[in-house]
């Protein structure tokens, strides 16, 4: 087990190497404080892999180290060359006191990682969807080619529980781990989720530390590691926590891009939000919510920057093209959602239980009341004219809720048996974002007027 865990750590260290390359390419490396770089590099590396690996698979290639390592070396090499040619002095953001976060959030995170490495896979969807496909990707085909075997991936009739219509980004990430474990250890694979959480926490620290003091931010990040709902999601090995990690981090990066006007932040947000939709198609409405929320803000305040935001959204959407083409070519689709006015008229009875279910999740103790607290302090921030994070957060949260209500309204799946119990999972992204932003919003609401916080 220990060797397998080391394999997962090596696999992620290599991805972090790719993340360093991406950071250098977009000129983010010199802008980050030295000790915040590893966290951001890790998440960006994981995100970039989740976006690019499916392209390799759809192109008939594999995600074996033989193929991926040279690609990582290429990105890192290109990043180094570009970074050296720029020869600009470092302009690091505040955040060098990362040892505080490392101490407060790092200890529970290490324990959670150890716990995650020693956990039996038990959720049926995780087994049939996420891990079975990962094993086929890891071990199928030849060393370099033929991994996305159409006898499996184009036969939804033979694999009805495997959700072949889903994107394969997370499956590819697990397959990458299996390559480095040398086997498909379904216990240790949970460690990957803890490492995604670590990346999200590191990124949140790097981005938010300039506007929030170290102690409250550290307490918030540690709280996310210990949040019961988050721990349950992690140990279930569903895709909702990975999606939440990359989306929430991407949303924070996008909000900071709006405040700081740094293009490298927009580039990083694009990578992370593209990764969101490469993990699970739910990422689609999450991305629409954050791009839409920020788009509304920009449309009111800075229309000129809408073009940049639209370009980022378009790139994130375009990255899903190979997946959509593959599914269309093989006639793979889902009939779970059948939108239509007649359906909506007929199914108005779905609205009340959906809204009740959403509210129930928001006020559940397992989420530490993240959303009600964040909303309350966001409103307080707006009252105090500190809108940078508060307004996009409230807009994005509203859009996520509206999207879920609309999807459930038009769903052709059993509402009380399947959809309502799934709400706790589906809302994970919003809850993680709310909790990551909570220290910023509280500090912004409480800080005296002369402070530049918020």
């Amino acid at each position: 087990m220990i060797l397998h865990a080391v394999g997962v750590l090596v696999a992620n260290a290599l991805l972090a190497g790719g993340g360093v390359g991406v950071l250098m390419l977009v000129d983010g490396w010199r802008r980050l404080a030295r000790w915040t770089r590893p966290g951001v590099a890790l998440l960006v590396g994981q995100g970039a892999f989740v976006v690019v690996a499916p392209w390799l698979l759809y192109a008939g290639l594999s995600v074996s180290p033989l193929l991926v390592e040279p690609l990582i070396a290429l990105v890192l090499g290109a990043g180094l060359v570009v970074h050296r040619r720029r020869a600009l002095p470092a302009e690091p953001r505040p955040g060098g006191d990362g040892w505080i976060a490392a101490l407060v959030a790092g200890v529970p995170l290490v324990l959670l990682g150890a716990r995650a490495s020693y956990h039996a896979l038990f959720q049926f969807d995780a087994i049939s969807n996420w891990v079975t496909k990962a094993i086929v990707i890891w071990s199928g085909g030849h060393r370099l080619t033929g991994v996305l075997d159409p006898r499996f991936f184009a036969r939804p009739d033979l694999h009805p529980q495997s959700h072949l219509e889903y994107p394969v980004g997370l499956n590819a990430l697990y397959a990458w781990d299996f390559h480095w474990m040398g086997t498909a250890d379904t216990w240790v694979v949970h460690l990957q989720l803890a490492l995604l959480l670590a990346g999200a926490i590191g990124t949140a620290w790097a981005l938010l530390r300039p506007i929030v003091p170290a102690l409250p931010l550290s307490a918030g990040l540690a709280g996310l590691v210990l949040m019961p709902a988050q721990v349950d999601r992690l140990l279930s090995a569903y895709a909702d926590l990975p999606l939440a990690c990359v989306w929430a981090a991407g949303a924070i990066v996008l909000m900071r891009w709006r405040a700081e006007r740094e293009r490298y932040l927009l580039a990083l947000a694009t990578v992370l939000l593209a990764a969101t939709v490469a993990i699970k198609q739910d990422g689609g409405f999450y991305d629409v919510a954050i791009y839409g929320g920020l788009g509304i803000v920009l449309a009111v305040e800075e229309r000129r920057r809408l073009l940049e935001l639209s370009a980022s959204a378009a790139i994130a959407a375009l990255t899903t093209l190979p997946w959509r083409i593959y599914n269309a070519a093989h006639g793979i689709g889902s009939t779970d959602i059948r939108p239509g006015l007649s359906r909506m008229r007929a199914e108005t009875g779905n609205l009340r239980p959906t809204i009740d279910g959403i509210l129930h999740v928001f006020v559940s103790r397992g989420t530490l009341f993240a959303l009600p607290l964040a909303v309350a302090f966001a409103v307080a921030c707006i009252v105090k004219q500190r809108r940078t994070e508060a307004v996009p957060f409230l807009l994005a949260a509203s859009l996520v809720v509206v999207s879920i209500v609309l999807i459930y309204w038009n769903a052709a799946v059993n509402l009380p048996l399947v959809l309502i119990p799934a709400l706790a999972r589906i809302l994970t992204g919003l809850i993680v974002l709310a909790w990551l932003l909570l220290p910023t919003l509280v500090y912004g609401a409480l800080a005296p007027d002369e402070s530049s916080a918020g």
Partner: protein
């Protein structure tokens, strides 16, 4: 988790004491953020310890997933083990239904789960159409006639595992 929690609480208390002396807003922020953690995380520690104990009691060396409740009564461990042993990693298999699985009252939900479970247990071996498969897993077929072209047969009551002669 309990250790982490104790550590976190101690760190929060120390931090709060320090911050309260120097920065009131900072201290208040820590307090507001830490309050739900202190209130709602500790009640979960016993559940987490129980989960860990359950995992520890399972055999971690096999790295096996937990058999879903939906198939506990219909799962055939001997069949899974024999299939994993006999079917080559790049060979294919098909699932054929006989006996109780073809009856009108067959539990189709359990069958769907069972098929997915077999796909997981046997991955990366692929399930294909019966006419193209190297092996047949005949669920409920132990007492019926053998499929045509069978070269090797394992009777793993109530199921059959059958190697077929390669088709030309």
């Amino acid at each position: 988790m309990a250790i982490a929690l104790t550590f976190l609480l101690a760190a929060a208390a120390l931090g709060l004491a320090y911050a309260a002396r120097t920065h009131r807003v900072e201290a208040a922020t820590v307090l507001i953020v830490a309050l739900p953690i202190v209130l709602f995380v500790p009640p979960n520690t016993q559940r987490w310890i129980d989960q860990l104990r359950r995992d520890h009691n399972r055999n971690s060396h096999t790295s096996r997933a937990v058999v879903p409740l939906a198939i506990l009564s219909v799962q055939n461990q001997a069949l899974e083990d024999q299939a994993a042993l006999s079917i080559g990693r790049h060979q294919t298999y098909a699932i054929v239904l006989r006996g109780r699985w073809t009856e009108r009252r067959a539990d189709t939900s359990a069958l769907t789960y069972l098929e997915s479970w077999l796909q997981f247990q046997l991955a990366p071996r692929l399930q294909v159409d019966p006419d193209r498969a190297d092996w047949l897993i005949v669920l409920g077929g132990a007492k019926g006639p053998l499929p045509r072209g069978a070269t090797t047969v394992y009777r793993l009551d109530p199921d059959l595992l059958v190697r077929r002669a390669p088709t030309t």
